[in-house]
Structure formats: C-alpha cells, structure tokens
C-alpha cells in the first residue's frame, strides 16, 4: 500500500513519460523540431473530456477515439513540416500551440477559459478506478508506449526516420520519401502524446486550455532533451526526474523554480547530449561497467586482465 502522495507523483511521472515518448518520436527519432506537443496532448485530453462528459462515453470507449483524434491532429500539423524545416518549423510549432490554446478558449464549445470539469473516473474491472488502480492503468500505458517505441526504432520506419534526421537529402537520394515518413512520425508521436493527454485528463479530472499551452510543451521538450534526445531511456528518465525534481526541492519553497532552471543550465553546459544520451558521461560509465561485468561473468576474470 503506497502513500496517496507517492501514488500521485508516480502517476504523474508515468503520464509525462508517455507524453515525452511521443515527442521523442517526432523530435528525437525523426528529427522534426517541435515546440508544440501541447497541441496533441490537449487534443487527446479535450476529445476524451468532451466524449465522456457530453456524449456519455466511458473512459475505455473514449480512449481510442481520443487517441485517433490526436493522431489526426498530428497528421494535420505534420503537413506544414513538409514545406518548412528546422528553425522555421520550430517557430511554426510555437505558433500552432498558441493558435490551439486560443481556439479552445474562444470557441464556445470547449468550456472557455474555465475548461471542462467533473470528468468521470476511469473504470477498472467494472468499478470506478481508485488512484492505485489508475496507477496500474498508467503503468500499462507506459509499458505499451515503451514497447511500441522500441519496436518502431528497430523497424524499417525507425531506420528511415534516423536517415531523415541525419541527412534529409541523402535519405531522399536513397529512395526514402521524407514527406511520408515525417507524416508517420507526426501521426504516431501525436497519438502517444494524445494517450498521455487522456490519462492526464482522467487523473486530474479537470482540463483547462492552459494545461496544454506553450509552457507545458516546453517542459516536455526539456524532459526529452534532459534525459537524452532520441533515446527511450532518456525520455522516460527525463520525464520522471523532472516531475520529481520540484518535489525533492519542496523545502526551498520559492526558490524551487530557480533550482529547476539552474539544473537545466548546468546540464546543458556540461552534458549537452542529455544525462543518459548516447555519449553522455553517465551512459558511458554504465556501458563500461556492463562490459566489465559481462567479461567477469564469462571468463571469471576482470576485463583488464583478459589477454
């Protein structure tokens, strides 16, 4: 039996990990700089909120619909990426997230700035889920997202994404259609982020437009870069650690955000590839340790004393 506080933190860590994995597909794997992941998360959350409160869907019925809605949103916002690249794409995604937030606030269907409240609880085995049961649901979603990302990376699509990320022109020469694979990346990444959005909405059970604006989008990008852009371990670690960090520094109260910012600045200065990214200090040390362990296990001798 876990403390309610611990359960809340763990659930949030899981939810942000799923969203970070979504952005990792778009920015990390396919290399499409995106500062507007809040759009996809918000689409998922609002779709689910509307379906469960206005249309009477249950959580499990609304979940696939909401994910599909975010995937569509990912496809639509992926279309501009076919026309602009890099810096322009980043700026464009900033624009999109503000347009999205503004539309949600001003269109008369989404509850305006007050958002949508009284979302129903998710059901688990036929009963309204307790926070513990919900943690299990989130954990399940996280495991599914990790498995899906790992599979995608090893698939043909993952290789295509990597080649586009490294050199788009070269990939095109090799017969890979960048437009197609970029759209796949946006659609799949948005679906992950939408899943995170649904989980978030039914955990907090109250959504406002500001939960999915520019700053949350930046936080997710920070999580992915903090852990190590383009790696699954990095996205999950970054999301968990940066969700936990403000809680760890609760004792410094007002200065929490200062500590948060300072951590990021130091990390970017000394470990620009992320804390667990390829080539980072921690990851190299772990790899070396693992190789040594394996050497000892197979030969019974330390690595250094192998002939």
């Amino acid at each position: 039996m876990l403390d309610a506080y611990v359960i809340t933190i763990l659930t949030l860590m899981g939810i942000w990990s799923v969203v970070a994995l979504g952005l990792n597909v778009i920015t990390g794997l396919a290399g499409q700089f995106n500062l507007g992941v809040g759009v996809y998360m918000g689409t998922g959350a609002y779709a689910s909120a509307m379906l469960t409160t206005a249309a009477g869907f249950t959580f499990w019925e609304a979940l696939p619909c909401a994910i599909a809605a975010s995937a569509c949103m990912g496809f639509l916002t992926g279309l501009p990426a076919l026309r602009v690249r890099e810096d322009s794409l980043a700026v464009l995604s900033i624009g999109l997230v503000f347009v999205f937030e503004s539309l949600i606030i001003y269109l008369p269907y989404f509850g305006g700035p007050l958002g949508i409240s009284r979302l129903p609880r998710a059901t688990f085995a036929g009963e309204p889920a307790t926070n513990q049961a919900y943690l299990l649901i989130v954990a399940g979603a996280l495991v599914a997202s990790i498995a899906a990302t790992l599979y995608l990376r090893r698939s043909w699509m993952g290789l295509a994404w990597e080649s586009i990320r490294e050199d788009e022109t070269a990939a095109q020469v090799l017969g890979i259609d960048p437009a197609r694979y970029k759209l796949y990346a946006f659609t799949i990444g948005a679906a992950f982020a939408g899943l995170g959005g649904v989980l978030y909405a039914h955990f907090i059970r109250f959504v406002t437009p500001y939960d999915f604006g520019f700053l949350p989008s930046i936080y997710v990008l920070v999580m992915v870069v903090f852990g190590g852009l383009g790696t699954v371990r990095g996205a999950v670690f970054g999301a968990c650690f940066l969700t936990l960090l403000p809680e760890l520094f609760r004792f410094v109260q007002d200065y929490r955000n200062l500590i948060y910012g300072l951590t990021l600045v130091l990390l970017m200065l000394y470990q620009p590839r992320g804390l667990l990214g390829d080539g980072s200090y921690a990851w190299r040390a772990m790899r070396t340790g693992w190789t040594r362990l394996r050497a000892i296990r197979t030969t019974g001798r330390p690595y250094a004393s192998n002939p």
């Binding site: 290399g31 464009l92 624009g95 999109l96 347009v99 001003y106 955000n257």
Partner: protein, 332 residues
C-alpha cells in the same frame, strides 16, 4: 546551406538548437524567477480569485502553512466601517506608496453603495483609523445610481494594476490630421528609425559588421580568414540585447506598466518575425512586424474571429511562414 550568426548561437541544427534554446529559456526563467522573488514575500491579490486566470489558486503563498492556519494564529485582525454591503472581493497590494501618507500594505474594498475604500491592512490605530482614501462614484446626474430596493451598486471585482498606479507617466499629445499622437508614439517610431539606420550602418559599413556577416555565412571559413569569431558573437548578443531593451522600455512607457512576464509574448512574436522577414534580413523583419501589428489590430477590431489577439497574430505568422518559408524578402 547558409548559416546565420544569430541563429548559430540560437538554433543551428536540431541537437545544438535544442540545447541553445533550452539554455536560453532556462536562463530567462532564472532571471525572471529572481525578479519575481521580492514580490513573493507577500502575495498581491489584484483581482477576483487572485489573478487573471481566476482559478482561485494562489500558487505563490509563502506565509500560510497548514501548521500556522489555526485558531490561535489565524483570525480577524481588525474591522472597519464602510457605507454599504460588500459583494466584490476585497483586493490586497503590498508596499503601495500613497502620496503624503507613506508606504502601506493596502486593502481595497468596493461597496454596493458605489464607494471604493483603501485601508491600511496591518493596523487601524492612529493615522490609520480612517481610510487612506475613499472615492464615491454615485452621480445620479450622470446616470450612476444604485439599483433599488436593496441598493445594488458595485458588485463585481475590479482589476488593479499595481505598476500603473505607482509610476504614472503621462506623455504629451499632439493631434495630426485628426489622429492623436502621444509623445511615446513619436519616441517609439523615431527611436526605431534611428536604431534601424544605425544597425544597418554598423552591419553594412563597419569592420565589425563585416565580421558579423562573415561569421553568419560560414563560421569555419571566417575563422580561417582570421576573424575573431567569439568577438563578433559577443557583439551580436550585446547589440541584440541592447535593442531588445530599448523595445522593452518603449513597451513599458506605452502601456505604463512593467511586469515580469511582459516579454514573453513579444519574444515569441519576435522570433516568428525573424523567420517571416527572412533570416538576417532587417528590412524583411521590419516589414513583417508592421504587417503583423497592423493586421492583428484590424482583424481584432473589425472581425469576429473567435480568438485572442495573440492567437490571431500567431495564426497569421503560421500562414505567412507557410506561404513564404524562405521569408518575405528571402535570406540575405
């Protein structure tokens, strides 16, 4: 592909770009965080439910904790007579300098009798026994009355603007062909013109500008040619920050207010304008800025697009970037 010096430092390619951008955001956060700290000591309540989000949440509370909110340390400090019932939420601002009465922590109260009071929040003794000031807005001749029978006057909560009330700068105004132009307007337009010409001169006709352009075009070659790359990068940051600071001061004078988040939206729009103008193209950026400023105002005034002003601006930026990804006037 051509690289631009400002964006080399800012966003050259995904990995480095993300790193740079996040460092910038984090440094900004640090600076703004430290700016906001003095204000956090006692939280101002500037409108109903604390702030413009109207959520009722006070995320910056520092004095109240679960341990000190109890019957022994928490309760009525003082009560003051007013001329009617109170429906609007009383508001609180710390450290207000009231001319002739010194600095007070002030509670603002509006009554259904259409009066607004300012009371000292901390004690009611001595000089603070009477309100710091009181204004009654009843004026039957001008149609300002209360609603009978139960006297319904000022029922909703206003929004206080702390900085505007403290440092009121009035600019002189002149009328040109029926259009009122304030001194601030002239200063902004004139200052922008001067800066534009000066910047153009520095970039085009000095050795520093030559170095900056060379670094923008190809940093490796520039280094080989003996150009001090670090120096021109430093200069770019120095000049850029100084111009941005001028913009900040002008915005402060124009709206008569300064607050820690005043640069947020301007910063995002500025970034987008650089892209629309064409990287490094000064004329393009200025043209884009004018197009954006004029059309967002026209659209918000004459159409019913269901979006905020910033939302419309961002929508236009997205459309413009899609129409001309290479920038309005192309890259220099």
């Amino acid at each position: 592909m051509m690289k631009n010096s400002v964006f080399f430092v800012f966003i050259p390619n995904p990995v480095r770009g993300v790193r740079r951008a996040i460092t910038t955001v984090a440094v900004l956060g640090l600076l703004l965080g430290s700016l906001a700290l003095p204000a956090l000591a006692q939280v101002n309540v500037l409108t109903q439910h604390n702030d413009n989000t109207r959520s009722g949440l006070n995320p910056n509370e520092t004095l109240l904790t679960p341990s000190n909110v109890n019957a022994t340390t928490f309760g009525t400090i003082l009560s003051r007579p007013v001329d009617g019932m109170i429906a609007a939420q009383p508001l609180y601002v710390s450290h207000v300098n009231i001319p002739g009465q010194g600095v007070h922590n002030v509670v603002y109260v509006a009554t259904l009798h259409n009066s607004v009071y300012a009371f000292d929040a901390d004690n009611a003794a001595g000089g603070n026994a009477s309100p710091l000031w009181q204004v009654n807005f009843l004026n039957p001749a001008a149609g300002v009355t209360t609603e009978p029978p139960s006297e319904l006057g000022c029922t909703s909560t206003t929004r206080l603007s702390p900085s505007a009330s403290r440092n009121c700068v009035r600019s002189p105004t002149v009328a040109v062909a029926g259009v009122t132009v304030t001194g601030a307007d002239c200063l902004i337009l004139g200052g922008t013109t001067v800066i534009f010409i000066a910047l153009w001169f520095v970039i085009r006709h000095t050795s520093l500008g030559f170095a900056i352009r060379a670094v923008a075009q190809d940093i490796e070659t520039a280094k080989v040619m003996g150009i001090d790359v670090d120096r021109s990068v430093r200069a770019v940051f120095f000049i850029g920050s100084a111009i941005a600071a001028f913009g900040g001061i002008m915005v402060a004078i124009l709206y008569n207010a300064v607050y820690t988040s005043m640069g947020d939206m301007v910063g995002y729009k500025g970034l987008a304008l650089i892209v629309i103008g064409g990287f490094g193209n000064m004329t393009g950026a200025v043209i884009a800025a004018f197009i954006l400023g004029i059309s967002e105002t026209v659209l918000i005034t004459y159409t019913d697009i269901p979006m905020s002003r910033d939302g419309i601006a961002m929508l236009m930026l997205v459309v413009l970037i899609l129409i001309r990804p290479q920038g309005l006037l192309g890259k220099t």
